[in-house]
């Protein structure tokens, strides 16, 4: 089939949609800015709640999508609107005429250094959820010192539910990610005390609550209900965390060897860049605006332009994959109708 379908972004949403479109007999084009496919999930180690290796998910998708036209290290230079299609100029000099685009530009991890009081980038022993996954994958991070991990803390809601950080939204996956990472750290350092500082624990997904119970019962992870207010460094280079233990109504402090910030999801710059080029509106949460947030999350307000995944808001991996499949079907039906 000759119809050009342009998928912007080669993360799991773009890959899954491409797989489905290939199965339907199309030859979609994937445009990916970086030098590899898989997006954020490719940087992750294991996925909740069954500890599925993220690499397996990504490599399966990549091999299934291999027949698509894939442009790595490629960005969109500009888009011209034609009569009833678009002319897309790529940074590699190729231009594509299409009337169908699937936006799968995903999210960005919140820049944790903007929460200045948590000292990311200032205090040595403060890392993010993403840094920790990197360490799980590579074992390479001098901040995680195998010989001195007696106390480890996780801070929920970093750059989420925070008007000062200009993101009042919940990032959805950090609670369960913190539980997962806390368990993994406890497995690696069984003698360590592991604390999670949370405001609410949003255990909404399949088996999440069981995962949380296991973290409590089987791993003895301490959950403290209070948002971290301040982090500082002591003379040994360890970090001191201050919060209120709101359940006892008292300030609480603890000294830690490692503090992991659960940086949230914000709309990626790539999403806003694409939105600017195709004149797509942003929703009040800063993510791309769907035709309808309940009935029609996959449709953009513009004809022929569809969304899948975290470009419209924080999503889990299964949610993203489901949206990608739904988007492929939508695109297929759209082509059939014409």
């Amino acid at each position: 089939m000759k119809e050009n379908i342009v998928i912007i972004g080669g993360g799991i949403a773009g890959l899954e949609a491409a797989c489905q479109l290939l199965d339907l007999g199309y030859k979609p084009i994937i445009i990916e800015k970086s030098d590899h496919l898989g997006g954020h999930v490719a940087d992750w180690n294991c996925l909740f709640p069954d500890m599925t290796p993220a690499g397996d998910i990504v490599s399966a998708l990549i091999s299934k999508a291999a027949d698509a036209n894939i442009f790595l290290n490629t960005e969109i230079s500009f888009v011209n609107k034609l009569q009833d299609s678009y002319n897309i100029m790529l940074s590699n000099g190729i231009s594509i005429i299409t009337r169908i685009m699937l936006v799968t530009t995903g999210f960005s991890v919140f820049d944790a250094s903007k929460k200045e009081e948590y000292g990311y980038g200032v205090y040595d022993q403060v890392i993010t959820n993403k840094d920790l996954e990197h360490w799980f994958n590579t074992g390479d991070d001098r901040r995680v010192n195998d010989s001195a991990m007696n106390a480890i803390g996780f801070v929920h809601c970093v750059g989420s539910r925070d008007e000062k950080a200009r993101n009042s939204q919940c990032s959805k996956v950090c609670c369960i990610t913190a539980v997962k990472q806390a368990i993994e750290m406890k497995q690696k350092f069984p003698e360590a005390m592991v604390y999670c500082f949370y405001m609410d624990l949003r255990m909404f997904g399949k088996k999440y609550e069981d995962f949380y119970i296991s973290a409590q019962r089987d791993y003895g992870i301490r959950f403290i209900r209070g948002r971290v207010s301040e982090v500082s460094e002591n003379i040994d280079g360890r970090v001191i965390v201050k919060a209120e233990d709101t359940l006892s109504g008292k300030p609480v402090k603890v000294t830690l060897d490692l503090l992991v910030l659960m940086a949230g999801m914000v709309c990626s710059q790539d999403s806003t860049k694409v939105a600017n080029m195709i004149k797509l509106p942003l929703d009040s949460d800063g993510f791309l605006k769907s035709a309808d947030n309940v009935a029609d999350i996959i449709d953009s307000p513009k004809e022929g332009i569809f969304y899948a995944g975290a470009c419209t808001g924080p999503k889990t991996v299964p949610e993203t994959l489901a949206e990608a499949r739904a988007a492929a079907l939508k695109i297929h039906l759209y082509i059939m109708k014409k």
Partner: protein, 356 residues
Amino acid sequence: MIYQGKQKIWADYQKEIPDNHWFYVRSCIRQNFFPGAEKMFLEICRGLLKKDIFETEHHTTCGGIAYHCDTIPQETVMTIVARQFALMTEAGYENYVASCITSFGNYIEILETWKEFPELETRIREMLWKACKREFNKPKYVAHASDLIYKYRNEIAARAKFRLVNRFTGEPLKVVEHIGCHYAKMFPARGVGGAEYPYVLCGMIESWGGNVIDYPERRHCCGYGFRQYHVKANRGYSLSNTYKKFESMEPYHPDFILTNCPGCPYFMDRWQYVIAETEGKTYGENGYGIPVLTYEELASLVLGYNPWDIGLQLHQVAVEPLLDKIGIEYDPKEKYKGLNEKDLMRPELPGVLRCC
């Protein structure tokens, strides 16, 4: 500690500070406890750097302390401040510099509140007219006096006679900096360096050769607490908060503490005395305390002024060990003398805290 991380944040919080032509308002606490500091601010800015800093005898307290002791309504403090702005307007200035941090915070808070509630500004203008028959323009720039010294820090360094270096070891002096809470905690963008890692004093210390120490309770309040100090029954609060800071900085063995708020040096100086007398604990070397200086005093010291002309005798914690480290010469007999060598006797010695 990753120094570059702090530099990145500092770069985000640079505020515009005009170079010259300031309308100057004094600080109640500084005039009482560190009068020499205000003298030296004007001496350095006017005498040495030839800046135009204007003062009128008609300005008064901004009412900030009374306001934060909850003894006057918000409209009252706002109208007092509006009168100060009127004095500035009448004198033909538009840059406003305050010696006090409570004042500085007060001015910023009032201007921001007026921005959000313009009807309140209109009411205050009416009240000022009714009370004083005065009108005012809002200042174009509001600075704290430490912002100015920060701005002039390199000029001061260029004229300095001393560096913040321990002359016995050749090492930079270890300096704790303490920022008044109302400098940037309410409006981080209004302070040099922001609220979490303020740079206003760090900049001076670095420029004059010292090393800044960051310790866990750096951001904690000195413990003033307004009503928690002015009422005798509450002073345990104030004392306990200072104690918490000193316990936290103790392992770093700072050579001195630098402050930009007029109240903090008083509390951090005097509570060391009280802790020594009641708990038997001292934080400096050999039974001394840790000297607590204002930025005007420190600038004057590096510029080579006589320590007793700038008022260091009014500190309860003796500054002599610090002067010795920097290599500043002084005459101990001069310390408590009046003008023309007039004999004023000397203060009694505390029981525990070593003072000479």
